[in-house]
Structures are given as C-alpha cells and as structure tokens.
Amino acid sequence: MSKTITNDVRGDDTFAILHLFEFDMFTLANVFDETLRFTDHDIFVNDGTNEFTPLAISFDKLVEDFSMSSDSISVSIDNINGALTTKALASEWRNNRCKITRVIYTPASETIGSDVYEFGVTDNSSTTYPRLEIASLTKDSYVLFEGVIDTFSATSQALQGTLTTQFTHWGKPHPSRTYNQNEFTTIIDAMTDVVYWGRPTDPNI
C-alpha cells in the first residue's frame, strides 16, 4: 500500500476529513459477492467510480511498530435494524480484504440564492439527492489501513469488527493453544514436553 501523502490541503488551517470503508464479501461457497462501501460522512460520497453509503462507523487508533507483529484495528459499524448482521451471517467476511481510505479536503464554496458560503455543504453536480462528489475536489487521499477482516461480533446497536494487517498470515502459523497445567507435574515439564493437540506424544501414557 502506498503511504505517500501529498500536501494539497494539509498545509491549510482548516480542512475536512472523511473516511471511506470497503469490505469485500464472499458467499459461503467462496465466490466473490460484493464490496460493501460505507463512509463516516453525513451524506453519500462519490469518488468518481463508487458510491459510499453514509453510516455511523468509527474505528479506534491504529498502532504500527517495528516488530512487524500483527497490528489490528477495531471498527464499529451501525447495525440498527440488524441489516449488517443478516449480511454477515449470510456471507463470509473473514479473511477478506478491507480498506480504510482517509480523504482530506477543503469544502468548496457554495452559492445559495445570492449568498456565497465560503465552505459549502455538498459538491454535487450530477444527482438530485444530496451527495459529495470528491473526484474533482482538491484533496489528499491515502490508504490509512488495508488488511483482512479477522473477527466480528454484533449487537442490535453495532457490529464490531477486528481488522488485521496482512502480516497476520505470517504471525499465525498454527492455531494457538492454552495448556492445562493438570497435564504436567511441573512447569518445566510443560515447557519441555512435546505435545500435539493436548495429547502426549507417547500414546501409552
């Protein structure tokens, strides 16, 4: 992914930020179904190719470090009416691509009647319904996070998803396991014994 950030508007004292979210959905038969596209802006956002639906969606801090360990990020998506739960249970999210793009832009001025507003509400030339068309705006647009969807949990209020970087495939060669201390008489035994899925290697024990 590119981390190149231009300086189109970042030098300004005032700017607007929105995020674009993409989640690839596969059917349970592992056939590509669709890409869900959401934005945390308050009206539809069109990037010239795709339309992003406004939805209450947020994410916590992304931490990256030198260790190349698997960084993750949690997103919380509005699930009121259970539409996303239905989608999540009928499709496969896990291990599929997700992307968060940050767009920084200066809202274009807008003339309403005879009054000019320095920062407009929409920038909409091709639809009757309110939407923000960002293709022609001066902006910085860069991928904030790209990875795979790991797990999700849902309530009637929100769907919480954990996204991890693609390094997750490096960091998880085997399913992790928690040992039960009862199987070993000492800690040292537990550390030195070779076990396979909880069973000692010697079948006679």
Binding site: A16, I43, F44, P54, A83, P107, E110, Y129, S156
Partner: protein, 309 residues
Amino acid sequence: MNNLTSTILANHSNIQAEERTKQGQAIEFNSGKNQRVIGSSIPALEMTLTYKNITLVNFELLRGLYEANHANTFIVDADDINDLRPDVMGLNSSVWAFKEFKFRATADTLFNGTITLVSSVFFNYTQYTAALTQSSTYSPVTSTNTDFDTLLDSAQPYQVEYDYVSNSIFSNIGQSVRHIKDKGGLRRKWKLSWLLNESQFLLVQKFYRQKAGIMGSFGIPDRGYKPHQYNTVELFDETTTYIEDYTDYFADDYLENEGEFMLVLSGTGTEVDDGLFSKTNAHFMNDTFEFTRRVDNMYICSADIVEAL
C-alpha cells in the same frame, strides 16, 4: 415519509433552536496557531417547541403524531427557524426525528408542554430510504378495571404530566439522527401529583399497597385524571332557534365560537363518553411510594404510572 409541518408548527408559543454547522474541533499548536478540522458538513439542528394552554383536541393531535412517528423520521419544513437544508439540498432534506415529548395538564384542564425535534440525515430521497426501512408502532392496551376511577373520585390530582417510555434505538452521524429502529413497546407514562387531606391521602396510599407497587395493574383514564362530568346540551341561537346538541363541551370550538350561541337551555343528564373515559392498562412504575406530611395535616405525594403492555 410523513409531513407533520402543519400540526407541529401550529399553536406553539415559541421555538428554542440550536444549530451546529460544520461539526469538528479546533486543535491548538504550540505556535498558538490552531487547526480547524471538521467531520460532518450538514447543519445539525435541534429545536424545542413550547405549547402553552392548548386544548385537549390540539394535545391529542400532537400526541397522535408522536405515537404514529416516534420511531421514524418525518418532514417538517421549519422555515420558522430558517432551516438551511432545504435550500442547499432540496425540500426532501428537511427531515427530523422526535427526541422528546412532554406535556402536563393542571387543574384548568389546559395543556402545556414541549416537543423536541432533532434533525435527521435519513433524507426523503429514495437513495437514502431504500436501504433501510423505518416504521413506528404503538398498540395501546385498554382496561375495563375501574379501581383507579373510584380512587380518582375521591382523590383528584392537581397536575398530570404526560411522557413516554420508548424502546427505540437511534443511530446518529455527528449530532443528527441517522435512522431509527422501532423495537416496539412504546408505552405511555403519567406522573400524577396530589395535594390531599388525610382521608383522601389514605385512599391513595391504600391503593398503592393494594396494587403492591409495580405488581398490580389497573385502568387509568387516558388523561390521568377524571374530567368533570358534563352533559349533552342543546344549543340555541339568539332567536331561541335550536341549533344542535353539543357534546364536546371541553373541546376548543365551543369556547372559541362562544359568541355565536345565546343560550344553553337544558342538559339531558347523560354523561358523555367521547373517549375521555377510555382506560389504559397500567401499573406503578416504582416500587417505592414517597409522600410528605405537612404540619397542617395535608399530604403531598406523586406517583409515576406506566402503561403495562
């Protein structure tokens, strides 16, 4: 999407409004400069309409609107507060959601209260409404139990407050509502306040004990109190020509058009039941009952009563 403009904006005495435009935050740097970053660009509005001394008929109109739209967004063309959204994005963007509905009736039987609306970004365009549906349900449960009626015959409250308990969950973007999920179970709530002498108070206290606080249920009149009994009356004009039987004595028309009528000659003695005595199944909301005994042997008490579905 329902348009509630005419009813909501009729009969109010003032509107208190708050507008947020370009929601975000300013971040100060060591240099003293600040950077202003915004996340949402649509005006987010909240307005509280105050209604003073409106009649039962008008109160019931507003109550009906609330019950039919408590969990969906609706249109109100709020020109009175110069809503910018219709000018910027078209009339279909002037949508709102109910945030609060509170009224009270005092002994004069007129109604005072406020309705708070909050702007919604679930605009009345297919692109916004197609993906997610909204609806509001309210299914009142009536009761034929007359125990509470009997109590009210002896111990009338001096004030009744009307409110609702709602299960709906709202989604929001910035300060605006995104859309609403009606989980059912909207319930009416009354708060009755009494100032009673000892014998009257003992009846109220006994009633609370008999109904075991939150356990028992009973029928409460929709108004929360028993209106004075009134009769069907015959109206005549100046020439004593019969006009009509008038059964809606407490509704607004009679008082407004009072000048047209000359005489009220006779009452038939029939107690009028035009829905005023319909009762809702309800129970006490709290498992405690608080009261104050004054030195003059008068008692002050109040009780929250909620509809039992």
